[in-house]
């Protein structure tokens, strides 16, 4: 289906149209100004060419208004495009509430992809048409960049933190998946395919694929096998309660020992597993050991998926209220991370 000599890329996501519109308008503006300048130059060249060797130019100055005009008009055009471009950029980092989360982990030189249902793929990503998908990205070694030209999206996968971007595929087909940040010898082979399918085909594909456990189930297993459950136990009291119960925590604000409040998002849970004492929840002792080096990036994602799936228990409130900027989330609508925020501490209150 790909042309052998395309001049315009496939557009296969809901976001692509906006980028294309910006591109076309900008191109028209560029062509207009380039043609204007080139036209004027050619005209002046012909009109004012030197006719005899002692001729000199007239010492005309242009009016101040002309100077102002050719400063202000480009400025106005730029600012208009700035507003448009920034709005479309913000949209990219604010996934809709119904977005489903996939994980892509980059390593030299492959993309390891996990579906929420547990399906795993390498260098191939199957997605259904019309479903909003939030890609959570991480890297095991150097910086990579997750790039799907047909969707007009790109986001770096930076080691040591999560970043994310979302899309909604709009047209079935097979599209390129590239690594766009130079990552070493086989950088140009860190490529793959994005296969966009009709939802029914996608379900068939899921059913026919290797039946892995879902992300949540795998995370639940880990939660047991790593003995997280011994401390983080719902309903435990007294001596047994060594750590906060995790039910309903994800996506809601958490009050810390030092008085700050943070939103329990991907990066917070990740940090709490790898660097538990960096942000201790108010009312608890910093007794949790680090799991740095004991869990892989993939297992981390599974654990986080599990923690997210833990809905509120009993009468416990479901966390965040309308005041939180991240939007309230439930187990089914993980949309906490509104920004590709850095994982480092020092996040604002």
């Amino acid at each position: 289906m790909r042309s052998s000599f395309p001049l315009f890329p496939d557009s296969a996501s809901t976001h692509a149209g906006t980028v294309d519109a910006i591109f076309i308008i900008w191109s028209l503006v560029s062509i207009f100004f380039t043609a204007l300048i080139a036209g004027l130059i050619v005209y002046f060249m012909a009109r004012y060419r030197r006719r005899h060797s002692e001729e000199v130019g007239a010492n005309e100055e242009v009016s101040v208004w002309l100077e102002i005009a050719w400063s202000v008009i480009p400025l106005a055009i730029c600012l208009a495009m700035f507003v448009w471009g920034t709005r479309s950029f913000f949209d990219l980092y604010r996934p809709p509430a119904d977005a489903v989360e996939y994980t892509a982990i980059g390593r030299q030189w492959m993309w390891k992809i996990q579906h929420p249902e547990g399906q795993r793929e390498i260098d191939t990503l199957h997605v259904p048409v019309g479903q909003s998908i939030k890609m959570k990205l991480a890297s095991e070694d150097v910086i990579h960049s997750f790039y799907i030209p047909a969707f007009r999206i790109k986001q770096d996968a930076v080691p040591g933190r999560y970043t994310s971007i979302w899309f909604r595929a709009s047209k079935p087909g097979v599209y390129h998946l590239f690594c766009a940040e130079y990552c070493g010898a086989e950088h140009s082979r860190m490529i793959g395919s994005v296969i966009v399918m009709e939802p029914r085909d996608y379900q068939n594909w899921l059913a026919g694929g290797s039946a892995g456990k879902s992300m949540v189930a795998s995370g639940g297993d880990l939660f047991q096998s790593l003995a997280c459950v011994t401390c983080h136990r719902a309903g435990a009291t007294g001596r047994l309660a060594r750590g906060p119960a995790l039910e309903g925590v994800f996506g809601s604000p958490v009050k810390l020992v030092d008085g700050r409040t943070v939103i329990a998002d991907d990066n917070y849970v990740r940090e709490s597993i790898l660097n538990p004492t960096a942000k201790v929840v108010a009312g608890w002792d910093p007794v949790m050991p680090t799991f740095q080096g004991q869990v892989t990036e993939e297992q981390l994602s599974q654990l986080i998926a599990y923690v997210r799936s833990l809905g509120p228990i009993g009468s416990a409130p479901a966390g965040g209220t309308g005041g939180t900027p991240a939007g309230t989330t439930t187990a089914d609508s993980p949309s906490a991370a509104t920004t590709p925020q850095t994982a480092g501490p020092g996040a604002p209150q």
Binding site: W26, M45, I143, R152, V158, P159, T163, H187, T339
Partner: protein, 557 residues
């Protein structure tokens, strides 16, 4: 500029001109060159070094284009290809584009244009050439021993913990080279402040001087930051520290911030001097005062200042906060405005001018066109939502080549053609030089325009092999590169040829005004026979005494 009367009578016969004492025949022998403190001779030394590195960088470029002729990587191993584009970037950016115009044309012209005998610190000037070559030798050493494969951007943690190539030697070479750039920039600032001829007020300075001044400010403020950044990379790699390595608690994006804090302003180090050259060429070949002189002068300063505030636009998709990205985006758009204003002023200068189509003017007109397109696409990539798609693709590659090659190199070649009679006292062949200008223009567009389309199609940069549907455009690009190569070789040949066989140029073959044309060509060692006294602005063609010199004009060929 009233010194014409004081200069010796201008003679155009080759014999007398050759005997007239000038900086070229003041002394002979290798020592007289290697130990010279004459800014003009140092400019020649720089010309030779810079041309050598340009040739090396171009060779890498040609090999890159050759590999990309086919989608499969069949000419080199990927390791080799990665070294090629890295060394192409390192050599071109640090050893050609940054020093080219300041160290060659700036060195030659700054004292001449302000009526000084030399730069303020001649020994420092010579030292800068030696330091430049020392840095170059370190880098060449790294190339010969197998090169470096990190990309010229040295992104961590790849450069510090994953690459097994000569990262440290290359970083050290760039570190050393930084001193040479700083020496030159510092020298220019002091010279422009303290050594102007009597009567030469700031607003009587040629626009090339304004541009050089703005460039020097960026050099002085920016270069130390890249020095410390590369030093940290070298130290981290040597001692396995964790400053930028996430596995040891460091932050890889901090490296990007520190790197681009210099490397984005470095783009303005490359383009501002070319803009200065452009102003001189337009004024000389339209024989007209530059429209909006003060606006153009202050635009250079505005670009220098704003240029320091936009580095974050290199990290739009690197995990930077979206609010930071917003600020960097709007600032990047602001920096485009002074550039746009310059383009409009140059164009308006042609209006009612007396336009001559000598070779340098062809480069100047080509510059305006290419720079306009480069600048406009620059605003495009500053647009956030758009940049997400084209970031790190060939669109960006095409954009910055339009600025650096279409802008800087066109300006450099135009300037070299314009001042060549001043430098050598000789003329170069008209037809060949115009042909070369045409080849450069056509070859350039054929090479880089298809890359805009490739980038929008989604071809990432630094790819050694690529999906087959990108081939047609890559073939076009490679074809253009070979034309461009010929376009660059021609001037090298006829400049060398002209030194021996070229016609004598006389003192002022273009009939141009400007202090540098008020002395003889080539100038004597101390530039002027008497200290010039300046009574008016730089581009005053409508004056009685200027008319006399018009008759001197020589038509090339």
């Amino acid at each position: 500029m009233n010194t014409t009367a004081a200069a010796p009578p201008v003679t155009t016969t080759a014999e007398t001109a050759f005997r007239r004492p000038n900086y070229l025949n003041a002394a002979y022998g290798v020592r007289s060159w290697l130990l010279t403190r004459d800014h003009k001779r140092i400019a020649i030394l720089y010309l030779i070094s810079v041309t050598t590195f340009f040739a090396i960088g171009s060779l890498f470029a040609l090999l890159i284009r050759l590999e990309l002729l086919t989608p499969e990587g069949d000419l080199f191993q990927p390791d080799t290809y990665n070294r090629l584009f890295t060394m192409h970037g390192v050599v071109m950016v640090f050893f050609f584009l940054i020093p080219a115009i300041p160290a060659v044309l700036g060195n030659f012209l700054v004292p001449l244009m302000i009526g000084a005998k030399d730069l303020a610190f001649p020994k420092l000037n010579l030292a800068s050439w030696y330091v430049y070559n020392l840095g170059g030798i370190f880098t060449l050493w790294a190339i010969i021993h197998g090169g470096v494969d990190t990309g010229w951007t040295f992104y961590t943690p790849f450069s510090t913990h994953y690459s097994n190539t000569y990262v440290i030697a290359t970083a050290l070479g760039i570190f050393i080279n930084g001193f040479s750039t700083i020496f030159t920039g510092l020298n220019f600032i002091v010279t422009i402040h303290r050594m102007r001829a009597p009567g030469l007020t700031w607003f009587r300075l040629p626009l090339f001087i304004w541009a050089t001044y703005a460039t020097s400010v960026i050099i002085v403020l920016g270069t130390p930051v890249i020095a410390i950044t590369l030093l940290l990379v070298a130290v981290e790699k040597t001692f396995h520290l964790g400053i930028f390595d996430p596995a040891l608690g460091g932050d890889p994006v901090l490296f990007q911030h520190m790197f681009w804090f210099y490397s984005h302003p470095a783009v303005y180090i490359m383009i501002l001097p070319a803009m200065g050259v452009e102003s001189e060429l337009i004024a000389a070949f339209a024989r007209k005062r530059i429209v909006g002189y003060k606006v153009v002068a202050f635009a250079s300063i505005a670009i220098a200042v704003l240029g320091f505030l936009v580095w974050g636009h290199h990290m739009f998709v690197a995990g930077e906060s979206i609010y930071a990205a917003t600020i960097f985006s709007v600032l990047s758009m602001l920096v485009a405005i002074p550039s746009a204003v310059k383009v409009f002023n140059w164009t308006a200068t042609l209006y009612q001018g007396s336009i001559s189509f000598q070779t340098p003017m062809l480069y100047a007109l080509g510059f305006i066109g290419l720079f306009t397109l480069g600048g406009l696409t620059g605003v495009m990539v500053a647009t956030l939502g758009f940049d997400v798609h084209v970031h790190d693709t060939y669109f960006v590659v095409a954009h910055f080549h339009y600025i650096m090659v279409g802008g800087t190199i066109m300006g450099y070649l135009g300037g070299l053609h314009y001042w060549w009679p001043k430098i050598s006292g000789k003329l170069y062949p008209a037809f060949l030089s115009k042909l070369a200008a045409l080849l450069v223009f056509v070859g350039f567009n054929l090479t880089f325009f298809p890359q805009f389309i490739l980038g929008y199609l989604g071809m990432p940069r630094r790819y050694w092999s690529y999906p087959p549907e990108f081939q047609v455009l890559n073939v076009l690009s490679t074809a253009g590169a070979s034309i461009l190569g010929v376009g660059y070789l021609l001037p090298l040949c006829y400049f060398i040829w002209s030194m021996r066989y070229g016609k004598d140029s006389g003192d002022n073959p273009w009939g141009a005004v400007g202090l540098e044309w008020d002395t003889t060509s080539p100038p004597p060692t101390e530039n002027f026979y008497t200290t010039p006294v300046v009574t008016h602005g730089p581009y005053e063609y409508n004056r009685e005494e200027v008319h006399n010199r018009m008759s001197q004009e020589v038509t090339l060929g």
